[in-house]
Symmetry: C2
Subunit: 163 residues, 2 copies
Amino acid sequence: MPEHALPYRPHNHQACVTQALADARSICRQANARLTPIRERVLELIWQSHKPLGAYDILAKLGSDGHSSAPPTVYRALDFLLQYGLIHRIASLNAFVGCAHAGERHRGTFLICRTCGTVLELTMPDLMQAIETAARTEAFQPDDVTLEVAGLCPQCQGDHHHD
Amino acid sequence: MPEHALPYRPHNHQACVTQALADARSICRQANARLTPIRERVLELIWQSHKPLGAYDILAKLGSDGHSSAPPTVYRALDFLLQYGLIHRIASLNAFVGCAHAGERHRGTFLICRTCGTVLELTMPDLMQAIETAARTEAFQPDDVTLEVAGLCPQCQGDHHHD
DNA sequence: CAAAGTTTGAAACATTATAACATTTGCGGA
DNA sequence: TCCGCAAATGTTATAATGTTTCAAACTTTG
């Protein structure tokens, strides 16, 4: 077992991208959803690192591609990818990150490094269950849970330089 | 013990406001911080209900007051109030709500009704502890936790009309 | 009072997100 | 095939949220 989770170690990141795209194609095929070129390209761009990407960053990268697009193009692709659980929105950053557990039906917990921006997604079913139970104890019917932890990733602790 | 938490029941809300303002004055006095008229007024506006208020909503209300202000006025007051723990920012709504546990040093959990907007703040120390422990297990040093649950409050369940 | 620091005013600008409507594309049935 | 519908994309404009910058006013302290 590795000392640190994958996003925190050097790794062949292209493999992450390839896997994510293959998973996405499979998930969309099963759901009869159309993973169009734009949607796939947006997903690929988001997966280019383990750092969340803002909608306008994506827009700019699409521009460098040759596609020249407007905001709705990106937001529509993002909505699609969110809908099929292929990406997550990080509310505290207004940004989007690839889902590390696509197809698993889960609620993610996100560890967000405030120095380098890297995000690690955890699934903690028992904890999520406890949160939902607490909500129901207040007669509240829970629907979505946003759980984001900001702090320092292993790489950035003891460091004083950025990114 | 009441069946439902306070924000969900009819109550003398003016008492909430008065208490919040008194607490704020006391906290600021102890911290040698200046709760200026603008800051106090912003806090009062935020406390006018148990629903989060956006920065531009606050700006508009300040305008109706006679104060005509610009966005930085509001954001500066909000920064101050956040710094002293008198309000919380709801990341999933880009909005602000009065802190129900000012001065207690805590991490809040927010139950946000997606129909009426009402927010209930809970403190769940054990759960927060568990989250931080999980983060540290990944060699991540946690700093801030954003925990927001969207769903239906007791009043809005079974309801099909809004607010 | 005078200097230094804090708070507020004001204008411009930057970033994030949506609305509205036209056009194109993919796809199933006549 | 090709017609027609629905889904997807293009395009323009605008709304909503948040920041930078610099100047003026106020507070505190020596």
